[in-house]
Symmetry: C2
Subunit: 587 residues, 2 copies
């Protein structure tokens, strides 16, 4: 029982020397990769670089205790950093004391929201974010992040959380470009792109096995950091206007108490909610992908608690909002991590770095960090998916395009909200006008097909409508209108059969509409019959007055319905025969 809420108890029991070795190796590799990434994402979020390191220590340990994925690596990620910048930016200028305090409050709120959602089993709320919306949002965020980092590559000022302001400020200041910065930045960019695309094949062609080659390539940023820092020191580029990271305090994460300021909490609540849900969706899909590879399972409601604990830990240890990151988790998995202990050892590694290695980073040029961010986020930009969605579904494409355009034009929060609202509106619209077909019998079979697509047998006194959707309040009125329309066009009709083979549910509104249809058809001298009603739907209908009030019958099969009505010119002979249902064991 306790295992379920403290997954650490489950995997901790079977821990042995071999697991320890595997986890230790993975932790070493991830630590090396995380140091520059953590600094870079903190910078992207408008925070001092050490905040990125702090956010990679305690949150990992909290997740290791409460999370259900064996291999997910939690910490700062690009999209959440951008959302933090946007949200905390409403409180104070990036880097200011109020801004840093707002980031802590965001982490705390996000943690509380996630834990609450987990305890109340509200994980399904994340379903409101459709794949196209999430994908569009991440693509747009990637474009914004890459654009925002151009300022550091050029060594100029620029600001804004959406494209119009970013591009305007970049264009305005482009004259002030600093040449040495531009050289370091573009060299880093070219090198990192090459490492990503070309290094692994080169290493493999030199005889290195695939996995170590892959891991070596992933450590490329460390080389860029080392070389560019050396260049800055060697040529004294700091005095030529190249901005560097500067002094980072040598310290373990400080104990921080997030401000309890109700006004601030209210201001940050909606951003924290969006950030939590986006972070959760991303993290869960990474965790599911990795768990499936080893036939493991993750529990999404417990994941909410794990990520919530990680964020609460971030808020009390000088960090900012975190979630499960794709890149770092894949590295962790590929490097052979078997349990969350690998995460805990990574945390120790980063803590050691925060204590002893930060002086080495003082002369690290910011342009290099910007280049690592650009290379990382451009892999998030995915126009292939945009094209696939366009081809597959115009409605999904509309939601995706709205998300991308609003995110680019107005910023991350309006973007997510627009995408969710439009997806929901389109879903409701589609559900409210379902597909329905008038069907007839395919000659010499018991199959009934659309009269417009097939040569089928019909009878002028009988019309059969097959509705390809559950009947709910969203389409109950449509149903009334549709049936009356069908009848108004066919004056000879005496029997209307609603074929229920695709109806998975009938709610109270639709039930009332069926009652209304029954009465209105009776006024017009037409009997209403049902056919092929599914078992669970019929179970429910039996609790209503409809079966008793129905002017016609409920037929087990459409074929039976059509055959009976065609051969019964005398309406009085068509009675409700529940005995058939009973005999076939269906009620």
């Amino acid at each position: 029982m306790l295992d379920r809420y403290l997954p650490v108890l489950a995997w901790g029991r079977g821990y042995n020397r071999q697991t320890l070795v595997n986890d230790g190796v993975a932790a070493g590799i991830v630590t090396i990769m995380l140091i520059p990434q953590s600094l870079a994402y903190a910078m992207l979020a408008g925070l001092p670089p050490e905040v990125g390191l702090y956010a990679s220590i305690l949150p990992i340990i909290a997740y290791a205790i409460f999370g259900t994925s064996r291999t997910l690596a939690v910490g700062p990620v690009a999209v959440i950093s951008l959302m933090t910048l946007a949200a905390a930016g409403t409180v104070g200028p990036p880097g200011s004391a109020e801004f840093i305090a707002a980031a802590l409050v965001l982490a705390l709120l996000s943690g509380l929201i996630l834990v609450l959602m987990g305890v109340l089993k509200l994980g399904f709320l994340a379903n409101l974010l459709s794949h196209p919306v999430v994908s569009g949002f991440i693509t747009a965020s990637g474009i914004i992040i890459a654009t925002s980092q151009l300022k550091s590559i050029l060594g100029i000022q620029a600001s804004g959380e959406a494209m119009p302001e970013l591009l305007t400020t970049l264009a305005r200041n482009i004259g002030a470009t600093n040449l040495p910065t531009l050289l370091i930045g573009s060299a880093s960019l070219v090198f990192l792109f090459w490492v990503r695309k070309g290094l692994k094949p080169t290493l493999i062609s030199l005889g290195m096995p695939a996995r170590p080659a892959d891991l070596t390539a992933k450590a490329g940023p460390i080389a860029a950091v080392a070389v560019s820092t050396f260049v800055v020191v060697a040529f004294d580029l700091e005095n030529r206007g190249v901005k560097v990271v500067g002094d980072i305090p040598q310290s373990l994460p400080p104990l921080t108490i997030p401000l309890f300021d109700l006004g601030l909490w209210q201001q940050l609540l909606v951003p924290a909610l969006l950030l939590s849900v986006i972070g959760f969706v991303e993290s869960v899909s990474v965790a599911q992908t990795l768990a499936a590879k080893r036939r493991q399972r993750i529990d999404p409601d417990q994941e909410l608690i794990g990520l919530g604990a990680a964020n609460i830990a971030a808020s009390f240890s000088g960090g900012y909002p975190v979630t499960g990151g794709f890149a770092r988790s894949v590295v962790n998995f590929d490097a052979g991590a078997e349990t969350p202990a690998a995460g805990a050892m990574t945390a120790v590694g980063i803590a050691i770095a925060a204590l002893f290695l930060t002086p080495l980073l003082a002369s690290l040029p910011i342009a290099t960090l910007a280049a690592t961010i650009i290379v990382a986020v451009l892999s998030l930009v995915d126009f292939g998916t945009v094209r696939n969605v366009w081809r597959y579904s115009r409605a999904d494409f509309a939601a995706m395009a709205a998300t991308i355009l609003v995110t680019l034009g107005l910023g991350v929060e309006p973007g997510v909200v627009a995408g969710v609202a439009l997806s929901l509106a389109l879903l409701l619209w589609r559900t409210s006008r379902p597909h329905a077909a008038i069907v007839g019998r395919v000659p010499n079979t018991e199959h009934f097909r659309n009269v417009e697509r097939h040569k089928v047998i019909t009878d002028p006194r009988i019309v059969t409508i097959r509705i390809d959707e559950s009947l709910t309040y969203l389409n109950a009125r449509w149903l009334e209108e549709h049936v009356l329309e069908v009848i108004a066009e066919r004056p000879a009709v005496r029997h209307l059969i609603l074929m229920g083979s695709a109806i998975n549910a009938i709610d109270a509104s639709a039930l009332e509409s069926l009652e209304a249809i029954n009465h209105r058809l009776a006024d017009a001298g037409i009997k209403l019959h049902l056919s092929e009603v599914k078992g669970p739907v019929m179970d429910r209908l039996r609790r209503s007055h409809l079966p008793g009030d129905l002017t016609g019958r409920i037929f087990l099969s459409q074929d039976d319905a059509f055959a009976t009505l065609v051969s019964s010119p005398d309406d009085e002979k068509i009675e409700q025969r529940e005995d058939i249902w009973l005999a076939r064991g269906l009620i």
Copy 2:
């Protein structure tokens, strides 16, 4: 073409002497019934009584030109009057100049919203109001209205748009009850209840045919008005504290220009929207019921324009928000109205009353009007439906109960919003966790049924999941989790079949989830197959990569899928065979 947007052109062409006579008779009867009702509803809305008459003149004519129902009678109704009171009450005290101005703005906004919804074909938005929510809202409104009118029966003061305040103020002032008022009020109540329940059977037993007996009974309020006015005058009860309607200006509707005040418009926009949608839903269901009785059709989008025109007319002629009323429309229909010309003649009748009859109404006691309102609205209170919904569906009952409780406790606007929000949340929740069954073959048949309910044939290497819901972004993640869970519990499984007989649609999110499931199962050494995919769903899937990427096959029938996989220990033999689909003419 023009006929469609000006339905008057269609019915006007066939107008003849007989239609004129029928319409004229109906108009006469409706006019008599409408006079006290209009005064009473205006009073309920907190407006001077003549406003009710004005709202029953031009709006009827506007609807006659633009509306599609032949027999709908438009004018003030109880629920919309209550909503007007609640909304305009936020601007000024009932009866004040600001309050009256706000009522005009509400009518204009409501008219513009309705016309806009009609032009943009947004009638489906009304679908968001489920039957249980509307029914619950009307029941709760009926209770509030009846309670609010008790003050006039007792001759005391009371206020509030929800029960707590109403009951508190009634209790506080009950000591000030005016005895003559109470006598007139309760006598009117008893008489009107008797007229409603007992008069018609009495008349019929005296030999009067059913329809005239019914119409005579419906004219009962006129008798109550005449007698109680006579009593007040005869016994000079005005000087004994009996409140009367007082002087009503003898006038045709004045030309009024609604205030163009952006702040006021903004304040009233949401109330106007709710009022428009509630009014539209009520009106359309009345119009549909009546149209169906004569096999006529109404066009909901054109109805929006008709009701919108009526409200705009109300706003420019000293009225307040109107809609199609149930009681008056049924009287109009039963009295034999054939075309909207009956409505136009009713308008002329009420205009004559406004010009010449108002002096007769000066001594009409308000207690009698209150009694007519109470009798009318108590017929709206419908606990039978509450019971039926409880029996049929707990989810629908929850939405209904929330609507009733929030409306009673907090007022009409929060009530509608709570109901809509809860219905939507429950719908999304249900859609996000659909019914799914593991199925096996019923021996000696080609039918596949739930393994938990039936004795069926299965194979340890094969598992078939039938999902009884369309696959959308709401349940895409559930699908991934569900499939992985099924697999994690069955280590022997090599083939997973998703049976699509109940899947009416697959959106882009669900498609991506199917791709993910396909890859994850491949990682675990399991092939994914689909069976019984519906035609339109398959058409769409062909535009995606899924059919090509699928590790297994797409089978036409589940029986074929099971038989093929059971008899093929060699997985390599199971290939995609589109030729079968082609041969059967399905692609």
